[in-house]
């Protein structure tokens, strides 16, 4: 075993795949950041809302204006993100740029779990991996600045770790689709597809129940196995075509933003070394280097001469193990995961359910006994209200926000309870949590939330 591992870690590979990956990923991030800015989401999501829903343990992460900085500073954060993404793409001051991108992007994601998206989480972990790899040492501004940096080859595991990170997104998403609603009720696609029946070309077909079943099963098989088909040389062209068709279709039909583009740009990591070399060669023709080609091209062996490569390797091994474990935590909780959402985030559970809730919060003055209904929209934007009304940890947080707000306005020791009705995959809505419990007395943590009512068919 040890010999196999030693042998594996000694293998080298061309550095071209890493460089191409860096450019494609960077480009996707530039586009994604530009889109976010252009749609006015900085203000809408991070400046305008009065309330934010922090992640457990990260309650101290707040929008900059809440630390007393001017509102415009949130735009500066996105400016830095943009520059960092450009730096990554071009390989310019890559170490600084990639670390900055990881930090800034993750900071923004931590501000409010309303906007949690699996692909944002993917971007965070991918940029974490990328900042530890020498992706800037082939065809980059940094190499033009310091030709000595240039590398021809890197340890093979460095390419594999990227493949692994991309692969688990699909595989876990595929495993998550193996459930009775998805496979035997074609839910939620049976709701979503007919809603898109005005799409050009394929719209007419989306109205049929059979189409929803076909898409459900095909989607599950696609997600579970696509890394395999991409890895196998003989099926690669077909597999990548499938990737593009799959993501284009979903991108067209559903509001999933840049996710399809990101996935189409990261999957080429599975292509052959030769393909990546050809891309680099083509790029070198289009953007010829002003200097003569450097002579001393190096190769990064593992462990690297400086010894730093060892540390990075160990960090990434731990990272990969965590990536395998974190999505599995849903199995530690009882009950229907779709219903309770315990362990639902960070587990590549994408586009799996049609869920919506209606939450009415009752604030009671402990002294007078007078109880009144809070107006959620007075505190939350439409997106926040929608997400909050079906996620227990957000319901809990909002109850505490209400307590604080009304206590400050003279309600004595406010008790907050909520009547929440949730509909899941087209079933009639049902009471979601114990509507008599004072939510402000509960603490959010990772233990089973006993106050969530059991899921009933």
């Amino acid at each position: 075993m040890k010999i196999i591992l030693t042998k594996y870690f000694a293998q080298t590979s061309s550095s071209a795949p890493l460089a191409v990956f860096r450019m494609l990923f960077g480009a996707a991030m530039v586009l994604s950041t530009a889109r976010f800015l252009a749609l006015g989401w900085v203000r809408e999501q991070y400046i305008a809302p009065k309330v934010h829903f922090p992640y457990y343990g990260f309650e101290w992460v707040k929008p900059l204006q809440e630390y007393g900085l001017p509102e415009a500073s949130m735009y500066a954060v996105f400016g830095v993100m943009m520059l960092a993404a450009l730096g990554m793409m071009l390989g310019a001051w890559y170490r600084v740029a990639s670390v900055a991108f990881f930090l800034v992007f993750t900071y923004v994601e931590l501000l409010d779990k309303t906007y949690y998206l699996n692909h944002y989480y993917f971007v965070s972990v991918m940029s974490f991996v990328l900042m530890l790899l020498p992706a800037h040492r082939t065809f980059s501004i940094d190499v033009r600045r310091k030709p000595a940096l240039e590398l021809d080859s890197v340890p093979r595991w460095m390419i594999d770790v990227v493949k692994f990170q991309v692969g688990i997104v699909y595989v876990f998403a595929g495993i998550a689709k193996i459930n009775s609603d998805w496979l035997f009720r074609a839910m939620p696609l049976a709701i979503w597809l007919p809603a898109n029946d005005t799409m050009p070309l394929v719209g007419w077909a989306l109205r049929y129940k059979e189409t929803a079943y076909l898409f459900s099963w095909a989607g599950m098989l696609f997600d579970c196995t696509i890394p395999l088909w991409l890895s196998w040389k003989r099926s690669r062209i077909l597999a990548y075509t499938a990737v593009v068709v799959f993501h284009a279709l979903t991108g067209w039909m559903f509001q999933i933003g840049v996710f399809p583009l990101v996935m189409c740009l990261v999957t080429p990591i599975y292509f052959s070394e030769e393909w990546h070399k050809r891309v680099i060669a083509w790029l070198q023709r289009v953007f010829p280097s002003p200097q003569p080609s450097p002579t001393g091209r190096g190769s990064l062996e593992s462990p690297s001469p400086s010894g730093r490569g060892v540390g990075v390797r160990e960090i990434l091994i731990i990272h990969c193990l965590l990536q395998l474990l974190i999505p599995c935590r849903i199995w530690l909780y009882d009950g229907n995961t779709f219903w309770t959402e315990e362990g639902y985030r960070f587990a590549w559970r994408v586009m799996l359910m049609e869920k919506a809730g209606d939450a009415t919060f009752f604030v009671k003055d402990a002294q007078t006994g007078r109880e009144g209904v809070a107006l959620n929209r007075e505190f939350l934007n439409a997106h926040q209200e929608k997400q909050m009304a079906m996620q227990p940890d957000m319901i809990l947080h909002f109850a505490k926000v209400l307590k604080k707000h009304y206590a400050a306005r003279g309600v004595i020791n406010p008790r907050v309870r909520a009547e929440v009705y949730v509909t899941l995959n087209g079933r009639p809505s049902r009471l979601y949590i114990d509507s008599s419990i004072d939510l402000t007395r509960l603490q959010d943590d990772f233990s089973q939330k006993k106050w969530i009512l059991p899921f009933r068919e």
């Binding site: 949690y116 998206l117 284009a248 919060f361 087209g426 009639p428």
Partner: protein, 371 residues
């Protein structure tokens, strides 16, 4: 590599066209549920007729107001009050279409024409200082409720009509403010009606997808919002059922001065039901949300639940005494008002989350993981 570049170009094109704000879905031939037909029906059998009724009654109101301000008397006042009642009743059936042309410079049409309670002090100050204008964001100084204040205030005291008439005769500025309010309503409502008659009807119907900005999404969102107005502001707030309220605030009912709050609330509920069921004001059934729900999975259950709850809500409203005003009922027979609020509250999930979820309607532009 060529394949890759080709795919990339296609993908970029998709990415750009799929950006939410400019994604009006193209209509196609429909064999299942025909959303285009539904939108057509809504436009032709509900929205346009209701707006037309509004315009007609607003014109009549204008005539009556002019007659009253020209010669203030008990007779002309009574006529103006009756015309106001008719127009305001018609308005209840239009306030739920707050999209498209109703989205105006100083606010939504429903805010411009329907904000209550009116800021009586601001109105009186503007009359005194002769500086009344509708060109500001003080929407509680204009619209139907502000006109109601001028036409009805103190008319619950005896002798009613004389007091109102006297106020108008003692200060002519009062009449010009009333006419300015009238003109404002007529202009703003008129703009919306004209837009629907000319260009907007076609745009509304052509946009027959389910994304944000589609006709169906607009209609649904304003329908849900209109319903919330009834529950929260016509019952919840005046009955003191909002969080943080320490007592009932009965003077915050709709139509406080005319004392007809309950009648308009019932009219409001009827308007909401008409949108849900796809039914014209005259009771003619057409293809609406009910039929749409009937065509999707889980829709039949929701229809049954909604109808049951609608009946419960109507019964609860019917149980509030009609012999007195809603404001007085809040003071004296609060349980019946609170019960009505509870029934309205129970209705919410059927009209909002359950409905949008079953129909797959988009509520916000933001990206999501589909949950």
């Amino acid at each position: 590599m060529r394949l890759f570049s080709l795919c990339l170009i296609c993908l970029c094109a998709i990415f750009l066209t799929a950006c939410p704000p400019n994604n009006p879905s193209q209509g196609g031939t429909n064999t299942g549920f025909d959303r285009k037909k539904m939108l057509e029906d809504y436009a032709d059998k509900l929205i346009l007729p209701n707006y037309t009724d509004l315009q007609t009654s607003v014109n009549e109101l204008e005539t009556a107001v002019n007659a009253f301000t020209a010669t203030p008397s008990a007779t002309t006042l009574t006529a103006a009050q009756a015309a106001w009642d008719k127009a305001y009743t018609a308005w209840q059936h239009c306030a739920g279409f707050d999209f498209g042309p109703a989205d105006q410079a100083l606010g939504m049409l429903s805010q411009e024409l329907g904000t209550f309670p009116s800021a009586k002090n601001l109105i009186e100050a503007a009359i005194r200082q002769r500086n009344f204008t509708t060109n500001n964001f003080q929407r509680d100084t204009r619209g139907f409720p502000a006109m109601e204040y001028l036409l009805f205030s103190d008319s619950t005291l005896a002798p009613p009509a004389e007091r109102v008439v006297m106020r108008f005769t003692s200060d002519t500025a009062r009449a010009s403010v009333l006419r300015a309010m009238m003109l404002d309503i007529k202009t703003k409502a008129g703009n919306v009606v004209t837009a629907w008659r000319t260009s907007y009807r076609a745009a509304f119907i052509a946009n027959d997808g389910t994304n944000v900005g589609s006709g169906t999404s607009f209609l649904f969102n304003t329908f849900a919002g209109h319903y919330e107005q009834l529950k929260n502001f016509k019952f919840g707030v005046p009955a003191g059922l909002r969080a943080g309220q320490t007592r009932a605030e009965s003077q915050r009912v709709e139509a406080y001065w005319s004392g007809q709050s309950l009648k308009y609330a019932k009219e409001h509920l009827a308007a909401v039901e008409n949108v849900w069921a796809g039914k014209s004001k005259a009771g003619q059934d057409f293809t609406g949300f009910e039929e749409y729900l009937n065509s999707v999975q889980g829709g039949k259950d929701l229809i049954t639940n909604t109808k049951t709850q609608l009946a419960n809500t109507k019964n609860a409203l019917a149980a509030i005494p009609v012999t007195t005003t809603l404001a007085r009922s809040i003071e004296s027979s609060a349980p019946s008002v609170n019960a009505a609020f509870t029934e309205l509250q129970k209705m919410t999930r059927f009209f909002k989350s359950d409905m949008s979820s079953l129909l797959g309607l988009q509520i916000t532009f933001s990206s999501s993981d589909g949950d």
